[in-house]
Amino acid sequence: MTELAPILAQKSGPARELIAFAVGKQEFCIDVMAVREIRGWTPATVLPHSQPFVRGVINLRGAVLPIMDLAVRLGFPPAEAMGRHVIIVVQVGSQIVGLLVDAVSDILTVSDTEILSPPDVASDMAKRFVSGLLAMDGRMLSILSVESVLPEREDGDPQ
């Protein structure tokens, strides 16, 4: 995959890197620039009265990191969190949040022209979270906009 990158970049303008991961049986990706680190699953402390997709909080080297269960957030059945699950730590603005996913697959370098706009389907997920689609070797990857995945903050900015 990676050896394709230079060719693609040459072919069609600026390239960007995306990190691809699996949630349930579907594949997604987010901009690699938003990703701070990837770490294994550790049990989270449950937050009372939180939205269902908020798994709780974990200790990330002294900081309190909220964990979003992407499966639940995207409308899939909740993941049975266990050792093989992975947390992608992303930063949006000053906020750092962990996204619980099934597995990280690879890093893709794509150009903007390869990104297709999502089709108009009656799926809440598609409308709210997916900013674009990517076709790769017969696979379909949905590009998530990280901002929209985060929980609405009580004290503030509506999305």
Partner: protein
């Protein structure tokens, strides 16, 4: 000078202004308190002078103008021509307030109340004008005849401000030959001449004879000499004062060749003695003067010195640095200090927090691995723990600041509130040096302001009432701070009428805050004033009746992990006592288990813990339960259920009840599954990465490396009362 350098200097200027202003106010208050120490007067003068000097360098016209008028009056006081007592001190204090406002506006922008400034500067003007009028019946026109100070005609007050005590015109011949060291010390002859020009009419002749040929000219040498003829009404002492800062760096002779036309001689022994005494003080004040005068206006009367102009900015920078040093070192015998960016301290604080957590984790791991049984490991661990604690205390000490910075704002507030309410008030502060975390200090200002307002507005009686009751006309408000048992205790006491309990009660009944037949102890009645929506003033004054009341005060103190209590005696006054933690970074808590989750309950809200007997627990209404405790029924709140950790109420017999006091002093019992122990925990914000969580105050990280939540006792109790916890979270969901 680069713009960023200028910005940095500007920032330093404003920081120093803060220091000068607080020194100014402190000094004035001491004078008000009856101190006649000349040093204090000098310090006050210096403070205003420095502000003026700095403001001039940054072309802050309004500030310079006002500071100048202010300074003129202070100079009168300093010279003993104006007695600093009574009305005068009040005016000076008001002037200090205006000066502080002007500094703030210069820094943050915004508007100032011009009429207020005008009123105060008029008052100041009349003060500095008074001695002139009384000392001699010299008509004012005489001043104009002298061509007095053309620079300041735009200041209406200024014409009359430095009115001479003895309006005799003296003629001085000053010969002035700077040494190279004068330039090296960043002084400028032109500045001195401008200063002389302020005293009167001058004619300057420059002696260029000693300038060598270009080849022999040392660029840093001094070759010029001046002869200045000065006609002024000022004393020789004042003229000499201009040169005080360059004393020793020049050859200077000042000769009087005019005849005195009236008034006593000023070149008497007493004046000389005084000048010697003032010399030291003047020195520091004079140090700042050149900055002010280096402001762009160029008087055309003076021949510019043949100094290369490129030197000027450098010299100025050096000068401001120098005066800065003098200020920090010069004031008291203060210990050397450094300014540190607060962010850096906070970062260090965070790291230490992590160190504490790590240390706890390490000991726990070693325990689990059974290694801690070895004495060497054990003593190593102990030492590590001790070190960690020492470092933590050290960092907290860096953040700790004396409460002085908040207390200092109060005299002004008292003056304003006293003026607005027509009461006479004396504020006494004690324990200003008591230290507490900076964040606590910052968040203390508002509640304290409110409580002091309250003490004056509601606590103290009107002067005529006080006199009728055989009290001193002037009311007393005492603000004191002390350390007690790892907390800071702040008392706000007044010697007013005390809480009018029947009235408080009737208001509370009227507003439906308590049932009409409620049996209340005096203490409970007093605490009614903390209820939301309670306001005793029958007319809503704009001082303390702005819809927010003591309930807001209590809530903000509780948000800091503190408590408020009242003791009041009818006719003798009331005392409000605040007890606050020394830091917001750590908290002592009880670690408890609820539905498999570990929670921390802040110790400050816990009264006692008990094992409930099933026979004491009674169902009350639908699902609520109460517990009988010493003939009192308290609500028994199932924390697990309240936080949504479980649907079914826990078995009270199997758990532990924690008796807590929440907002308004109400007691309730929290039902938890078990108690793990008590410990100090490092507070971590949940809001940084997530948001507010109903029922939870913050988070912490325990020894096992897991996040534990810190319970917000007030919110849990309030939530159980009206189900607002879940309502709130529904709101959160709706986003």
């Amino acid at each position: 000078m680069a713009a960023s350098d200028m910005d940095a200097l500007r920032q330093i200027f404003f920081q120093e202004c803060e220091e000068q202003l607080s020194e100014l106010e402190a000094g004035l208050l001491e004078i008000e308190g009856g101190s006649t120490d000349m040093e204090i007067v000098n310090a006050v003068f210096r403070a205003v002078h420095s502000v003026k000097g700095g403001a001039g360098a940054f072309a802050l016209e309004d500030l310079v103008r006002f500071a100048h008028v202010f300074e003129t009056v202070l100079d009168e006081v300093r010279k003993g021509r104006l007695a600093a007592a009574g009305q005068v001190v009040e005016t000076l204090l008001r002037a200090a307030d205006v000066l502080a406002d002007l500094v703030r506006v210069a820094r943050d922008g915004g508007d100032v109340d011009q009429s207020r400034i005008q009123a105060v500067s008029d008052e100041l003007g009349s003060l500095s004008g008074t001695p002139a009028a009384s000392a001699a019946d010299e008509p004012e026109e005489n001043l104009d005849d002298l061509g007095f100070m053309p620079v300041v005609v735009e200041l209406p007050i200024f014409d009359e401000a430095p009115a001479p005590e003895e309006p005799a015109v003296l003629e001085y011949t000053i010969s002035f030959k700077p040494h190279a060291s004068l330039y090296a010390n960043a002084n400028e002859p032109i500045v001195l001449m401008r200063e002389l020009q302020r005293l009167g009419e001058i004619t300057v002749a420059c002696d260029t004879q000693s300038i060598p040929l270009l080849g022999e000219l040392d660029p840093e040498g001094a070759y010029l000499a001046w002869t200045i003829n000065l006609k002024t009404t000022q004393s020789e002492e004042d003229v000499r004062g201009v040169f005080e800062f360059v004393d020793g760096d020049c050859d200077l002779t000042i000769a009087v060749n005019g005849e005195e036309t009236g008034g006593p001689s000023d070149v008497d022994i007493e004046a000389l003695l005084r000048s010697v005494r003032e010399e030291a003080a003047e020195q520091a004040a004079q140090a700042d003067a050149p900055i002010a005068d280096a402001a762009p206006e160029q008087p055309d009367a003076i021949a510019a010195p043949s100094e290369p102009p490129a030197v000027a900015p450098k010299a100025e920078a050096a000068k401001s640095e120098k005066s800065g040093n003098e200020k920090s070192g010069g004031s008291e015998a203060a210990q050397p200090t450094i300014r540190v960016d607060l962010d850096r301290v906070d970062r260090l604080m965070n790291l230490v927090g992590e160190l504490v957590i790590n240390q706890a984790m390490l000991s726990q791991r070693l325990m689990e691995a059974g290694l801690a049984r070895s004495t060497e490991v054990l003593s190593g661990l102990d030492e590590f723990e001790q070190l960690t604690r020492d470092i933590q205390e050290g960092v907290m000490a860096i953040r700790a600041q004396p409460v002085k910075s908040v207390f200092q704002r109060m005299p002004r507030l008292v003056r304003e509130v006293a003026a607005a309410t027509g009461k006479k008030v004396r504020l006494v502060t004690e324990g200003e040096g008591t230290e507490v975390d900076k964040t606590v200090i910052e968040r203390l200002a508002d509640p304290l302001t409110h409580m002091i307002r309250n003490a004056i507005d509601h606590g103290l009686e009107k002067p005529e009432v006080r006199v009728a009751n055989g009290k001193r006309e002037e009311g007393l408000v005492r603000l004191s701070a002390t350390h007690r048992g790892g907390r800071i205790v702040i008392d706000i006491a007044d010697d007013g009428a005390g809480i009018n309990r029947p009235r408080v009660r009737s208001i509370a009944e009227e507003k439906g805050l308590i049932p009409t037949n409620a049996q209340l102890t005096d203490e409970e009645t007093d605490n009614l004033i903390f209820l939301p929506g309670f306001s005793t003033a029958s007319t809503i004054s704009d001082i303390s009746g702005r819809g927010v009341g003591m309930d807001v005060v209590k809530r903000s103190i509780q948000a800091l992990g503190g408590r408020v209590s009242i003791s009041s005696r009818p006719g003798e006054g009331s005392t409000f006592t605040l007890s606050l933690p020394l830091t917001l970074a750590v908290l002592y808590g009880m670690v408890v288990t609820v539905a498999g989750q570990t929670l921390v309950v802040p110790l400050t809200s816990i009264i006692e813990t008990l094992k409930p007997k099933l026979s004491d627990v009674h169902a009350f209404g639908g699902e609520a339960r109460v517990i009988e405790l010493r003939n009192n029924f308290l609500p028994l709140i199932d924390v697990g259920r309240e936080l949504g950790f479980r649907d079914q109420g826990a078995d009270p017999g199997a758990g532990v009840a924690i008796l807590v006091e929440s907002e308004g002093g109400a007691q309730s019992a929290l039902l938890v599954d078990g108690i793990q122990g008590q410990r100090q925990v490092v507070i971590k914000s949940l809001e940084a990465n997530y948001g507010r969580v109903p029922g939870i105050a913050a988070a912490t990280i325990l020894g096992d490396g897991r996040v534990a939540l810190i319970l917000d006792v007030d919110a849990v109790v309030a939530g159980s009362r009206n189900g607002s916890l879940s309502a709130e979270s529904a709101l959160a969901l709706a986003g």
